[in-house]
């Protein structure tokens, strides 16, 4: 059976797993959903203070957008890593399309991200209002970026979840790589800051290379659509970043499909 029709046949399972993930995330804490907003907010404040100390001015609204978008990717990475291994008992004993598990993880984090996005919009609108600005009309194109971000996260979850079945110690390596990815992603700083630095050292090609990181493309695109003062760099580097993301998602998909039939033997 075709994987897509197989997933559609199991859509009730998918919906149930998404609800299960969301419920168990919000159930055990009094603040529940509030933590999903408070954590990135606290982080945004810390980065803002830190950057002020370094005497680099980055507008608060840029940091907010960057940190919230980063939060979605980071949560997908950490939940995605164990989404197959945590359900080992289920995988071993029940047949269902294995891709449901990474899909449910990516979707439940997306739901959480979309909910935080509402809060984020209110905050950004207030901050912009303070300097007499408002959210631009380009924001209607936001679903395209969210869809691209979702697919990229799905690729990451597909890759990590099946790699973790074979290498249970992957977590340690992933911790290091996520930190590295965080620093080469304009989450707590802006892309214009990168441009200033590469201009100062006369190596503009570095800005192109920087944009090969799909997360740099995604976060800069969010900012360009929401904030009136940010322009998306229409460069070969950014195009490369989009292609790299697409190639990665396809590769992860085929890797997952190839390995999934042996998952149950690994528990």
């Amino acid at each position: 059976m075709n994987i897509f029709s197989d997933i559609i046949a199991h859509r009730e399972l998918l919906a149930n797993l998404v609800m299960r993930n969301l419920k168990s995330r919000y159930k055990d804490s009094v603040l529940g959903f509030l933590w999903s907003i408070l954590t990135p907010l606290f982080m945004a404040f810390i980065y803002l203070l830190f950057l002020r100390i370094l005497a680099r001015g980055v507008p608060m609204e840029e940091i907010l957008i960057g940190v919230f978008a980063w939060q979605y990717t980071a949560q997908c990475i950490f939940n995605g890593l164990t989404c197959i291994t945590d359900n080992g008992n289920l995988v071993k004993k029940v047949y269902f399309p294995r891709m449901i598990l990474p899909l449910a993880t990516t979707i439940s984090n997306l739901v959480n991200f979309l909910l935080t996005l509402v809060v984020q919009f209110v905050l950004v609108a207030i901050l912009l209002g303070l300097h007499g600005q408002s959210i631009g009309s380009a924001v209607i194109a936001l679903p395209v970026v969210v869809a691209f971000h979702f697919l990229f996260c799905f690729g990451i979850v597909l890759f990590l979840s099946c790699a973790n079945v074979y290498f249970r110690d992957l977590e340690h390596l992933v911790n290091v790589l996520v930190t590295a990815l965080f620093f080469v992603t304009p989450a707590m700083y802006s892309f214009s800051m990168v441009e200033q630095i590469v201009a100062a050292i006369h190596l503009p090609v570095l800005a192109e290379i920087y944009m090969l990181n799909p997360m740099a493309v995604i976060i800069t695109a969010y900012r360009a659509l929401i904030l009136p003062g940010v322009a998306f760099p229409m460069t070969a580097g950014a195009g490369g970043g989009v292609l790299i993301a697409a190639a990665f998602v396809f590769a992860a998909y085929f890797l997952f499909q190839k390995l999934q039939k042996n998952f149950s033997d690994m528990f």
């Binding site: 009730e12 797993l17 168990s24 079945v165 042996n262």
Partner: protein, 404 residues
Amino acid sequence: MPSASVPLCLLIKMNAIEARNLSKSYRLQGSVAPTMFGSLARMFRHEPPKLLWAMDNVSFDVRRGETIGVIGPNGAGKSSLLSLIAKTTAPTSGSISAHGRVSSLLELGAGFHSELTGRENIFLNGAILGIPKATLARRFDDIVDFAGIREFLDMPVKFYSSGMYVRLGFAIAVEMDPDILLIDEVLAVGDTAFQIKCLARIRDFQRRGKTLVFVSHALQTVEEFCGRVFLIHKGKLVCEGKPAEVIFKYLKEYMGEGGGIHAVEYGSRDVEITGVRFINASGEEAGTFAMNEPFAVEVSYHAHKRVDRPVFGFAVKTGNGFFVYGSNTQIAGFHMDRIEGQGKIRLKINPLTLMQGNFFLSLSVHSWDHSVQYHRLEDWYPFVVKNSTQEQGIFRLNSEWEKV
């Protein structure tokens, strides 16, 4: 000819399950979870992976509506076979196909999420098993009553007892209404009342022409329910056929090997027990016996030296080690003068008052004063008793009613 397509279609779908040269190997990687460091270390040591063949070139057909019993010693590959039919694991080579909706009772409660309540888990587990939400909503009360968990419905399942867990799992699983039902030893759990409910459900499946594959160590249940039995040993399909014959072969040739409960043998061997034959009511050698009918055990011995007044003893235990009865020739007042060379004695039990289940017979021969144990075979010989009456229990009490 338009009508030709119908019989052809039926012909194709005659078999519910088809396996051709089915093989499955597992990599033995010890108890630790696979890691990157472990893989690198193995690569540098040029260690070939150790393989275990859980299924080794097995071919068979299961017809629609058949009930197949699968028996064999522990680790023979029975559960692997069910996993292959259920598609939870893929064959290493060969093929297996199941036509129709397969569901297995080997996953009882596997999809439960401990933080969610019983109510939430019914819907989650139902979705995992592919039961439409509408069906679950309609059958909700039946599921709850069958599992008997109504007062615990809104409690997280982590507070459930293991019995409640399994009962709820079973109640949901039977709502799947599959074409092929796989059952793996699940009926060993739960109290008698629940087991009777489960067996009734299974009979209901049979009546409706569903295909069943049944793995069990409860041999009398296998004999009672199955039309055909597969005997699996070390991943190979050793033999298949009528339940009584296959079970007998299993008891005689394979069960002793894996051992009974302890299956120990010791003694000075001055007198050796060389063979045992279980004889049924019609005087034939058998492995399965009917309750309340004559039962006999023929013991062959070889005395390597002259032994005066030897004592032969026997004991019977249930499959889970409960000691039922024991006696010997001395207690029974059967005196043997002396033995030397080969000989036979017969133990007659008439009627057999064991009710049903797997039992183990222990035999011993020792000196009249108990000072020398010549040969003792503890839990060595398995046999099966089946009960065709309505009476319940493990041992028959000679009982009657009267008006007072």
